[in-house]
């Protein structure tokens, strides 16, 4: 397993090319091209902010401007959710590669995660735009934690993505289950509501058990709340756990590897 992991480093050129291909191919043929990387989250944001500021306004103290608050959680979530959705079907979609070319299969889910990470990065200028627009500067020192949060999320997502990819080969219905689980997961993570809202507090244990809670809170503290990040212990703990998740996911993937060629 660790030999295979080490080999992965050798394939970084391949991963790089495939991520580039993924990005190029996604918007090839569309008029707006890469602009969709901005437009998609903007539209999503417009819908959510219309609902939560006009129709059923969230007036919790401290989360104004609400649109900006929400954006800080939604963008990483989109990265996470899209990565898992794509990773879970990546092996089936890339079946031709696995069967006909000597090709390290784990590259496929990893490429899904990385391509979506690039989309996440491409959407970040929107956050910057809103920060300037609302004159809402984040704490400068907090920004140093941003790469840490991204790294933790990357490792965590890859771990789950690898496991899902491997299992989906055997159980195709994971793709459908996943869509529903992700929906539930989204609403049980403090993204469209703050974690300190009084209705949330009674369920604190439940929220603490949700790994994405800590990522969402970290992003919100880093980008939105002006005071220093208070959640860094949780973030680092999640980082350690993520390495565990990644190794477990990779282990499962490695165990099932030989079956891919035969089952896909």
């Amino acid at each position: 397993m660790f030999a295979n992991l080490a080999q992965l480093v050798r394939y970084r050129g391949l991963i790089q090319s495939l991520v580039a291909r993924e990005l190029k191919a996604r918007y090839r043929g569309s008029v707006l091209g890469f602009c969709w990387s901005f437009i998609n989250p903007l539209l999503l944001l417009a819908i959510y902010s219309f609902i939560f500021t006009t129709i059923m306004p969230n007036r919790v103290e401290g989360v104004q401007p609400y649109a900006l608050f929400m954006l800080c959680g939604i963008l990483p979530w989109t990265w996470f959710a899209a990565s898992l959705t794509e990773a879970s079907s990546s092996l089936i979609a890339g079946g031709n590669l696995i069967k006909k070319v000597l090709f390290p299969a784990e590259v496929l889910p990893i490429v899904s995660v990385l391509a979506n990470m690039v989309h996440f990065f491409l959407a970040l200028p929107i956050v910057v735009l809103f920060l300037i627009l609302y004159r809402h500067p984040p704490d400068a020192w907090d920004l140093a934690w941003f790469p840490v949060a991204v790294l933790v999320q990357l490792i965590f997502t890859m771990g789950i993505g690898l496991a899902l990819a491997a299992l989906t080969v055997h159980f195709r219905d994971i793709r459908d289950i996943l869509a529903n689980v992700l929906m539930l997961w989204f609403f049980s993570t403090p993204i469209i509501y703050p974690w300190f809202q009084k209705e949330v507090l009674p369920y604190k244990l439940f929220f603490d058990l949700n790994p994405f809670t800590h990522l969402a809170i970290s992003y919100q503290e880093i980008l939105f709340f002006p005071d220093a990040i208070g959640h860094w212990r949780w973030l680092l703990a999640l980082g350690v756990a993520s390495v565990g998740v990644f190794l477990a996911g990779y282990w499962l993937f490695d165990r099932l590897r030989d079956s891919f060629v035969e089952v896909v």
């Binding site: 050129g13 391949l14 090319s17 070319v101 090709f103 055997h170 079956s259 089952v263």
Partner: protein, 459 residues
């Protein structure tokens, strides 16, 4: 010298995840069978104890029927799958032409696909840049290289895939039947490229159904049958051994076809055979005595292809056997070989009016040849009890194909005693793929400025 490819006692057992076809995660969880479902339930040996050594610079052919494990062997060498037991070692960079353009993405341009495909095959960016022009030139796609691959014709797609794979500069090239896809011109180009790689001392492992390619091209060959190595070594010998075995299975198949046809006629009830008898009589009469004038309406029945058996059975054909050179029953013959048709007949009552007839039909139902003892001016005198009739052909000058045989015994004016129509099938094989229904004995002579190259003839 260390071999370029070495398989030692390799066994590959494919696992079938039986009964799991429609299993879902839900049912797996409900029945707590998730672990069991992830472990294979059925196994299927694709290769069993196959060993193979290819020294560097040799071209090695693998032949065998469909499903004999050829492609599995290739995938093992390529490293796409792992052997269940045994070891596979390969020295040097491998390029596998298993499926051309397997990694192409339809939406992006040929140029970008070349880069990504080549990276997948193990080249660095710099190496690709250096070879890029060669690749495009070889694929003859200079004008289209910037168009998305989805707009390519399948030929263009294949050419590009082949061009990339061949320019990876492999030490070991694995080829799986890819030559069958291109047009004539491209196939030649591929063969030339292979020849060039051979000259450069590259090792080639070729999986193909084209036996002539193996004979012409390979230094050694391996014949796989149901996952086992049946023969290896000199390609000509291996191909011959393979062909002999193919013939044997064909013999068996034809034997069972014939047996079925004969059995079918036995099960026909008397009432039915009486009905066909009337129709048959006319046809029989015509085949028997084609020289005789016939009413117009019956002429169109001349070569009507109706399988079956009819006749009064006063004289019965009890057995029909095709015999080869060694007087052994056979169903597959080589063009130019002797063949004999042996009829065993029984006269249930002494007869003085009888004609024996034989005719050959090809697969299209065209009568290639038909004759009988009456046409050949043999006047019957008497037939009593059991007898044997042999119709011998010294040299079977037929082109390759499947043929059917009519045999009959009837009276001089066409009344059928026993008529067997198209019940016996045999196959003619030929090394020359000539066409038609008959091969006259022939030779070519040339004079003047005509010259042919040496060596293409199979001898």
């Amino acid at each position: 010298m260390t071999p370029a490819i070495e398989l030692q006692d390799v066994t590959k057992i494919y696992r079938r995840y039986g009964g799991r076809q429609f299993a879902t995660l839900k049912s797996a969880l409900l029945q707590r069978s998730i672990l069991r479902d992830l472990s294979p339930t059925e196994t299927f040996p694709a290769l069993q104890n196959v060993s193979l050594t290819v020294p560097p610079g040799r071209t090695y052919g693998v032949i065998g029927r469909n499903g004999s494990g050829k492609s599995t062997a290739l995938k093992l060498v390529a490293g796409i799958t792992k052997p269940t037991s045994g070891t596979v070692t390969v020295q040097g960079r491998i390029s596998a032409l298993i499926e051309l353009g397997a990694g192409f993405h339809p939406e992006i341009s040929g140029r970008e696909n070349v880069f990504i495909n080549a990276v997948m095959l193990g080249l660095s960016k710099r190496e690709i840049a250096r070879r890029f022009d060669d690749i495009v030139e070889f694929a003859e796609l200079q004008d289209f290289i910037d168009a998305p691959v989805k707009t390519y014709s399948s030929g263009m797609y294949m050419r590009l895939g082949f061009a990339v794979a061949i320019h990876v500069d492999p030490d070991v090239l694995l080829v799986d039947e890819v030559l069958a896809v291109g047009d004539e011109g491209f196939t030649h180009k591929c063969l030339d490229k292979f020849a060039e790689l051979r000259r450069l001392g590259k090792t080639i492992l070729l999986v193909t159904h084209s036996l002539s390619l193996v004979e012409r091209f390979c230094d050694e060959a391996l014949w796989l049958d149901e996952g086992r190595a049946r023969a290896s070594g000199d390609p000509r010998r291996v191909v011959d051994a393979y062909l002999t075995a193919v013939e044997k299975t064909e013999q068996e198949l034809l034997a069972s076809t014939t047996a079925k046809a004969v059995a079918a006629t036995r099960s026909v009830t008397h009432a039915e055979s009486a009905a066909t008898q009337e129709a048959g009589k006319a046809a029989a009469a015509e085949t028997v005595a084609p020289a005789r004038a016939k009413p117009d309406g019956e002429l169109k029945n001349m070569f009507a292809v109706i399988e079956g058996r009819w006749g009064s059975r006063e004289i019965e054909i009890t057995d029909v056997t095709l015999l080869d050179e060694g007087h052994q029953p056979a169903f597959v013959f080589h063009s130019g070989d002797p063949m004999a048709v042996r009829l065993k007949v029984t006269a249930h009552a002494p007869a003085t009016d009888f004609v024996f007839g034989v005719s050959l039909f090809n697969a299209d139902g065209v009568c290639c040849y038909g004759t009988n003892t009456f046409i050949e001016q043999m006047d019957p005198q008497s037939l009593e009890g059991d007898a044997e009739v042999i119709f011998a052909v010294d040299s079977l000058e037929l082109v390759e194909g499947t043929y059917k045989l009519d045999v009959a015994v009837h009276t001089c004016d066409g009344y059928p005693y026993d008529y067997h129509r198209l019940l016996y099938t045999f196959r003619v094989k030929s090394r020359t793929p000539d066409v038609g229904i008959y091969r006259p004995k022939h030779r070519w002579t040339f004079s003047g400025g005509v010259r042919f190259k040496e060596g293409r003839g199979q001898g």
